[in-house]
Amino acid sequence: MSALITSIRQRLFWIWIAFLLIPIGIGLYAGILVLTQGLAVTNLSDLAPWGLWIVVDLSCIALSAGAFTLSALAHLLGRETFRPIARIAVFIGFLGYSGALMCLFLDIGRWDRFWHGWVFWQPHSMLWEVTMCITLYITILLLEVFPLAAELPIFRRFPRVRAFAHRVHNNTYLLAGLGMGLSLLHQSSLGGTYGVVAGRAFLYRATMPLLFIASAIAAGLAFTVQMTLLVQWLRKRILVPRQTLFQVGQISGVVLLIYLYMRFWDTTAGSYGYVPGRTESDMLLMTGTFGISFWGWEIILGGIVAAILLIWAARRKSIGMLLMGSGLTMAGVIANRWNTTMLAFAHPLATAADPQLTVPASVQYFPSAVEWATAIGIVAGLTLVFSLGMHYFPAYQGITSPVPATKPSDPKPQNTNTPTGEVSHAI
């Protein structure tokens, strides 16, 4: 009977993988369209030059912030209990940054010149700093994920690869330190990318880097918790002790509250001390169509409610609350990145090409089918690799088996799908 259930579960996994191939296929086709036809296939315009891809890029990077935070907690502050979840976080982080790079690759008009940022330096530019940091940090993430991949049985035949992986693993603390430095730089400078734009009243604020890093830490931790819970539930295994998940959830909730507090004073002080255009753009954010996503998703559900659920879940020992709280935090940060990007262009510049010198009308932008297809395709691709990683990587086979082993002496864990009895390097 249990063999039957196992076989169904195994088949369900492959149905899931096959299902993911559909949006990936459509996304690939749409991506080729973008690369060959140019950005004319998007709904972007001179008035709204950035859109869905930038939102996905910013969201991916924010949700990947769990990698550096948990690595720092586990390896720099020596919190051993965070090691299992840090291992999941670096994998999510690596995928998140890959997704962000894919989005940027599509978004730049000349993808054949993607390497220009590394060759033609412009240290004055926030975006140059972001380019360098992201490239360096994804290398760090690759090195952090590499020892996990090297445990795959296929690498048994390559002892040198494993030896190198072992050496890399022994220096995890170094990678964690570098990763934290780079992340603290570019998670903030992504906010700075917007914050330095003096011409756009909604964006131009020195607090932007701080708001971005705080929301990213909260969302990154919450997202890691959420993915761990999902994998544990779907795969019927325990990857991270419950207590650790609740702890990480609480940290996320507290950081989220700190972020909301900073956000409140940023907006309030900006409105009291009149910055030209600031109050108007804040009003635009808080009323009308933006009002729903701002109050509903960003502040109430994805902010206050999410923080309360995350903090309270530990007291109530409620996995449901933890799952809901982390999900809402994720939704909140995505809504924030969307609102921030869209608001930048909602107020037309006083001298834009359209005759809107005195009438502040919203710039209309809604992503085109091609933009949606590529964005969904990228997310599906990341989900696919994540699913496969959780399926095959020995490090993610669970620390304890929920089903009691038939023979306690059997080194092979139950209910795992890869033949491995090896002790993970990282444990």
């Binding site: 036809q37 140019g38 950005l39 004319a40 998007t42 972007l44 315009s45 001179d46 008035l47 030059p49 950035w50 940027l104 978004d107 730049i108 008009g109 000349r110 993808w111 010149r113 993607f114 220009h116 940022g117 033609f120 330096w121 412009q122 004055h124 530019s125 926030m126 975006l127 140059w128 972001v130 380019t131 990318t193 330095v196 734009v197 003096a198 011409g199 756009r200 030209p276 930048a344 037309p348 510049l349 006083a350 001298t351 834009a352 090409a353 005759p355 010198l357 005195t358």
Partner: protein, 225 residues
């Protein structure tokens, strides 16, 4: 000395200080400067480097404002470009290296004047304004790069070797200034007290757009009254 010329004299830029002066009282909104720019710089309709904005004042009297690139001394677009594709020339004008631009459009986000346009698609159509309004003097830009007004720098560059004075000799003056039927747009060196730009500023009240941003534009607007 009026404020624009004082600014020019204090600037770090060596040599002439190029500036454009647009008289809002004299402008009749005929769009000729827009057409001449399109013909000379080979831009399609809806892809304008120089635009005409129409509005009305408080008494319902039409006001026409044409807007080229401001060629700011503190140009936000230059600061934000991640690959140094947008830069200040030695003479202070803001121009682009189209072979270096990666098309990230950060400069469009940063420009406070909306003066930049992106090549969303390859422009293969015939120039709609060629012939009547002038002929293209620079190659078309490829798909996927941002582009902008250059103050017709191709003309300025040839001025010294041909012994011409920009602002006075038509071959060395931006196309938009040459074509203006009411001489509402003039060009010249603000460090030369007798240049057309300096003379136009004399005794008139001038403004720059969005002065509070501190971008120090090189385009000055003379107020109607």
């Amino acid at each position: 000395m009026d404020a624009p010329r004082a600014m020019a004299s204090e600037s770090d830029v060596k040599g002439p200080y190029w500036a454009m002066v647009i008289d809002l009282k004299a402008c009749i909104g005929c769009s000729r400067c827009v057409y001449a720019c399109q013909a000379t710089n080979d831009t399609a309709d809806g892809h304008l480097w120089n635009v005409l904005i129409e509005d009305k004042d408080h008494f319902g009297v039409p006001v026409f404002l044409t807007r080229p690139c401001m060629h700011c001394e503190n140009a936000p677009c230059v600061e934000v470009c991640p690959v140094h594709a947008t830069y200040h020339r030695d003479d202070g004008l803001v121009t682009m290296d189209y072979d270096r631009c990666i098309g990230c459009r950060y400069c469009m986000v940063a420009c406070p004047y909306g003066a930049r346009v992106f090549n969303w698609k390859e422009n293969t159509d015939p120039n709609p304004k060629e012939g009547t309004w002038g002929s293209p003097e620079i190659p078309r830009r490829a798909r996927g790069v941002v582009e902008k007004c250059t103050f017709c720098s191709q003309r300025l560059d040839k001025a010294s070797e041909r012994g011409l004075v920009p602002g006075i000799d038509r071959e060395a003056t931006p196309a938009c200034c040459n074509i203006c039927p009411t001489s509402a747009r003039v060009f010249g060196d603000l460090r030369d007290p007798n240049s057309p730009a300096s003379l136009a500023l004399k005794g008139r009240q001038s403004i720059v757009l969005r002065a509070n941003l501190g971008t120090k534009p090189r385009v000055f607007y003379l107020l109607p009254n």
